[in-house]
């Protein structure tokens, strides 16, 4: 069976859930090979085997960590040229998409981003224009390079005994042009990451002030959910920018999305419209968010949300 490369997304070696999703997807299309770039491979090894990697390429050059995107694309391009895989699957994160774009140029291949599924023959499924149209596309030139959104496939373990191949990447000076001087973390810890969470609870201007995000956080915590925010809320400084959902924030596609005090502007919808189940609480019955919902409550969030949180606690 044809080899399908999966770029491992990880934090200090610990793979993110999307990696297991892509390995699972790759298994349905061919033989999955994981490509691990960076430090901390020991933290990844067993997990990649557990999720069915038949082969693991390891590029652990310490130098790779101080640079963005470009060196990773070079490593991948070297592996693509030596192993001629049937396709390359990359997590559809901002950096993943950029790596995919550069890899496409290097290998003169077509690139498809934001796939929500990949079928036989590497037909990628996308949902475009804010979810209004479903598209199937194919790469017609070179090696199919497809970035796949987190939460597109349910990860399933399928233990394998992967072979390992060390890749000694030669990184060009050009790829080392942009140097990372500092990495600053602004996020509050403890909750699942927005793009990976199964449930996202988001708050907007309707909360009135930053302190009231406590209501959202409490509700999120009873559900094990991530917390999102509209741009109105992040711009007002009520919640960190890293939690913004929408066109210029994160794109999320959870099982359940709850919009609390959010009107549903088109730029907000662009980041959440493909969520499987959508719920809104808004006091304005005309709010555009209600066009999207599976279930909506027209009412004051300051009454509805605490009652909901309490009710969920009771049912636990």
């Amino acid at each position: 069976m044809a080899e399908v490369l999966v770029l491992v997304e990880h934090v200090d070696g610990a793979p993110k859930k999307v990696t297991y999703e892509l390995l699972t997807l790759a298994r349905s299309l061919g033989e999955p090979s994981a490509v691990f770039i960076g430090n901390g491979f020991d933290n990844a090894k067993d997990k990649l085997a557990e999720y069915g990697a038949r082969k693991i390429y390891v590029a652990a050059d310490a130098e790779l960590d101080g640079f963005l995107v470009a060196p990773k694309a070079e490593v991948l391009a070297q592996i693509v040229s030596s192993s001629s895989p049937a396709a390359v699957l990359i997590p559809s994160t901002p950096e993943g998409k950029e790596i995919a774009g550069r890899l496409a140029v290097k290998t003169e291949s077509g690139v498809i981003t934001d796939a929500v599924g990949v079928d036989d023959g590497f037909v990628a499924k996308q949902s475009i224009f804010g979810g209004a149209i479903n598209v199937s596309s194919k790469v017609s030139k070179g090696t199919p390079i497809i970035t796949v959104r987190p939460n597109s496939t349910a990860p399933e373990a399928a233990p394998a005994q992967p072979t390992e191949e060390q890749v000694s990447a030669t990184i060009s000076d050009a790829a080392k042009g942009a140097k990372i001087l500092d990495r600053v973390t602004e996020k509050k810890g403890g909750r699942p990451e927005l793009t990976e969470a199964a449930i996202v609870v988001s708050g907007g201007r309707g909360l009135g002030e930053g302190k009231n995000f406590e209501l959202i956080e409490k509700l999120a915590d009873t559900l094990g959910a991530a917390v999102g925010a509209s741009r109105a809320a992040t711009d007002a400084g009520w919640y960190p920018h890293t939690n913004q959902v929408g066109q210029t924030g994160k794109t999320v596609s959870p099982q359940l999305y709850m919009a609390i005090g959010i009107s549903g502007a088109i730029q907000h919808r662009a980041g959440m419209q493909t969520s499987k189940t959508i719920i809104a609480v808004n006091k304005d019955p005309e709010a555009p968010i209600f066009e999207l919902v599976d279930f909506g409550i027209v009412g004051d969030l300051f009454n509805v949300v605490p009652q909901l949180t309490e009710e969920i606690e009771k049912r636990k």
């Binding site: 901002p94 149209i133 199937s136 600053v184 279930f295």
Partner: protein, 260 residues
């Protein structure tokens, strides 16, 4: 420092966007075109850099049909100095691979130290083009910038990340993409609008830019749309007015869907 800002005309944000039944490209007929919102931030940032430096030129570059001149005019009336319009029937249907090639070729005809773009366009939403351009031009990639500082021959940005930001530095030439947090774009003044009419606008065809015709357009693209369909209409949701029991009703719904 000479700066080129790449801008794109896209269907109006609120317009219902469609794919054409004939060739499966974005249908631009009968839809108002506007400058891609994020590109306004790119134009603004270029103007601010020029104003702070006190020298250099800001050129707008766009690739697109004749109608895209409207978007060029807007950038010129905001304050850009001149414009280049890459326009050729052969470009129709270009995907990211082909577009990045064509734009890189056009950029080759304009002297520059920096290229600035918005992180993504509101129609295609791929956000790969800035990285692809950096790759093609052999320029440093400084993307997802929420802050840009220009030194002598170097550029430092804050790159927005999932968890905060990275401080990234590179020497010029560089490709910078900006997020909307970076600034507040200015509105064109009346004076600006009048001045824009007299600013130089160069039109480039494929051959002017040295673009090989078989590497662009639909045939030169690396991807093809196999089929598309409107999303099956979602069953109208249930909307309930809160009569004091809205929270409990919601909890019931969540339980019925096995979320709790």
């Amino acid at each position: 420092m000479n700066i080129v800002v790449c801008v794109k005309q896209v269907p109006d944000t609120w317009a219902e966007k469609r794919l054409s039944d004939q060739d499966k490209t974005v249908d631009r007929n009968g839809v108002d075109g506007v400058m891609n919102e994020l590109d306004e931030y790119a134009v603004e940032e270029a103007l601010r850099i020029k104003e702070a430096q006190g020298d250099g030129e800001v050129t707008v570059l766009t690739m697109g049909p004749d109608k895209s001149v409207e978007t060029i005019r807007k950038a010129l009336s905001m304050g850009a100095d001149k414009a280049v319009h890459l326009v050729d029937a052969g470009l129709h249907g270009s995907d990211a691979l082909a577009t990045s090639y064509a734009l890189a070729k056009a950029l080759g005809t304009i002297e520059h130290d920096l290229v600035i773009l918005g992180v993504e366009s509101t129609d295609a939403r791929m956000s790969v083009l800035p990285a692809m351009l950096a790759e093609r031009l052999g320029a440093s990639q400084l993307t997802f910038a929420r802050k840009v500082e220009v030194g002598s021959g170097t550029v430092k940005i804050e790159r927005q990340t999932d968890t905060g930001y990275d401080v990234v530095e590179a020497s010029t030439p560089a490709v910078v993409s900006v997020v909307e947090k970076i600034n507040e774009p200015r509105y064109p003044s009346f004076k600006g609008i009048m001045a824009a009419k007299k600013k130089p606008l160069t039109t480039l065809s494929l051959s002017d830019a040295g673009i090989e015709a078989d590497k662009v357009g639909m045939a030169g693209s690396g991807t093809e749309v196999a089929e598309f369909a409107p999303r099956p209409p979602k069953q109208a949701g249930q909307i309930v007015k809160d009569e004091g029991d809205g929270g409990s009703k919601l909890a019931e719904f969540l339980a019925s869907q096995k979320f709790i």
